[in-house]
Every structure is written in C-alpha cells, then in structure tokens.
Symmetry: C2
Subunit: 206 residues, 2 copies
C-alpha cells in the first residue's frame, strides 16, 4: 500500500495538486471525505465538524491546563473528541489497504507507521491571494487585504492543530519528504513532476 | 541557458546531489570553483577566502552601523569585499551562457534575473550527523556532539550571510522552488527524481 499525504498552506493549490495526483497515479483520494466520515460517525452536521476542526482554539496551553477553564474547556473537549474521531477515520482509510492520497488533517503524523510519502505544498503570499481571488465563490467580494488575513488565520489554525497533535512545528522542512512551491507553476503542469518524484520514492531500494 | 542553484544544510548531501545532477543533466558544475575564482582575482589564499566567507561575522547590524566599530569593522569590510567579488565571479559564471549548477554562495539571489531553478536540500539532524561521521577525513575523531555543534554553527553562518545579502531568511520554503529532504534517500537514487523535476520545470509553458 502506498500512501501520499499532502499538507498545504491555504491558497497554495495543494488540494488541486492532490486531486490531480490521485487521478494521475490511480490512487484513492481523501479530503472532505474525512469530514463526512467524522460527521456521520458522530451524528453531527458536516459544517459544524469542519468549523470546529478548522478553528482549533487550544494553541498555547497543555490539555490539562486548558481544561481547567470551564467555558473554553468545554469547547476544547468537544474539539479534542473530534480530533480523536478524525484520527480513527484516517486510520480507517489506511486500513482499507488501498493506495491513497490524503489531503490535510495531519495525516502524515497519524499514518506515520505506514511510511507515507509526505508532501508540503506552499506558495508565496501574492500567488495565494491571486489563487483565492480567482476561486472566490460567486458573490464573495473580499478585498485582497481581507483574503490575506483569512489565509494567515487559517494557516495559524492549521499550525496550532499540528503542534497540538505532533508537538513539532507545522511546515518545517525536515518533517516532509518534499516541499513544493507552486508559485510559478500551473498545477496541471506540476502534477506529473510530483507524481514521478513520488513513484521514484516508492520504488527506491533504501 | 538553464541554471539550477542548490542551497543546502551542512551534512544534507546537497553538494553530492548537485554534482550528480550536473552529470545526469550534462550541466557545468560550480562549487569550490567559485572560491578559487575569488582567490585568484584577489591574489589571496583559497583557504583564507573560504574561511572568511564561511565565518561571516556581521549578523545583526546594518552595514553602516557595523562599520562604525573599528576592529570588527575592518574584518567586516574585508568580508564585504569578498562577498562582492563572489557576486562578480557568480555573475561571470552565468555570463558564459552555459547550462550550469551552482552550489551554495547565495547564487539563487545573485542570479535571480536569470530565472534559475532554486533547490534547497535539507535532512533531519540525525541523518546529517551520520553523513558527517561517514565522510570524516581520516584521523578526524569528533564526537557526535561536536559534529552536531559544527553543523549548527556552519548553518548559522550560512543563514547570517544570506540575511545580509538577501534580507529574507535562509531556508524559507517560499524562497525556493523545491525543498528536498534527503533523510530517507541514497543520493544516487534521489538524483534522477530531482533531475526529472527540474527538466519539467524548465519545460513548463507558464
């Protein structure tokens, strides 16, 4: 079984790259499916699950300390429960034994034992803003400044969740096998380059 | 003309990767040749040039401020002169108009106008120590702790020089097109993966 995990900065095109890689390599693809799996398992609304997981609030304090704050503590307990459920769902994906790509959700940490090929996708801030502008839902009129704030906020949350789960810092180069900067690429053209790299990774003798 | 620059953490195998990439792609290769070029141009000893460039002392203050300290200022003035000469030598390499690989020396910054493909090579600290142990010159018996201190010191100097030249931080993922972690690779096996990626980069339509 070959597993590729993709961690990505918001707006970097990591999800598109993941989807295209899955098509190119004939791998299963998991992204929003994880949220659906959690929601189903917990009898919750998908939107709520996504919101709760993407706005993780427990950045700074160890779990025990955080829990001593009653209000925030309850929220965090709910989020922690969702993170555990997320772990279960991701382990279930690997349990199917099929080649797959998992986008986001710290799958690289959760599936460490399966020796996944871990990719981090980044881009320069201007390129990320541009991508968000081009892909904005109809009727959404955020200024570039608002988009930039969104990008930074979302990535801050991703970093916080990662630190909580894995201890190490999000995006650190030693943590991933390959860090790809999409700034000067069209994702469609980038895909075969990353796919070939991954194939060589899985085929290496070491 | 295609230019690949390789920045690398000490002990990550970046130089070996660069040499092998040059062989695979049929590119010219520059590494120590830059030091030789500077030494020749300045009528200086190669060892002195390398030492001066690799122990850049002006980490913290802007050039104008640093120069007001007489003793340190003289040393820094000499180093700044060498950095300018280094820039001239690297620009001369590009001036030849031949496909080439340049390892280290902030060539990605100096040759920005030539649109080089910029690679950063990293590895986990344990892998770097292991590589240094295996490649130690005969008779050199540093402890693993001493090797680790050396690695951190050399990389700190590289980061300081980069910050002085480019303003931005060394090793930041947005600065390079590809960041490759050599930890789980034999460099010989990694080379064609990186070579293919670079070829696709130069061949892209964007």
């Amino acid at each position: 079984m070959k597993i590729i995990t993709i961690s990505r900065e918001f707006g970097s095109g990591g999800r598109e790259l993941g989807k295209r890689l899955a098509d190119t390599l004939g791998f299963d693809y998991y992204d929003k499916e994880i949220i659906s799996g959690i929601a189903k398992g917990q009898g919750m609304d998908e939107g709520y699950v996504e919101e709760a997981l993407d706005h993780y609030t427990g950045q700074r304090f160890p779990l025990t300390f955080r829990r001593s704050f009653a209000g925030a503590g309850m929220m965090q307990a709910a989020q922690t429960k969702l993170l555990l459920e997320q772990k279960r769902v991701i382990e279930g994906i690997a349990g199917k034994g099929r080649d797959c790509i998992v986008v986001g959700r710290n799958a690289d940490v959760i599936l460490k034992g399966e020796n996944p090929f871990n990719i981090f996708v980044c881009a320069q801030i201007e390129a990320k803003i541009q991508r968000c502008v081009e892909r904005a839902p109809e009727g959404e009129c955020l200024s570039e400044r608002e988009i930039e704030q969104n990008i930074r906020r979302i990535d801050k949350n991703r970093a916080a969740t990662r630190e909580m789960i894995a201890g190490g810092r999000w995006g650190q180069r030693w943590t991933y096998h390959l860090t790809v900067n999409t700034t000067d690429w069209i994702i469609k053209e980038l895909t075969p380059a990353v796919a070939d790299f991954a194939v060589r990774w899985f085929g290496r003798k070491t």
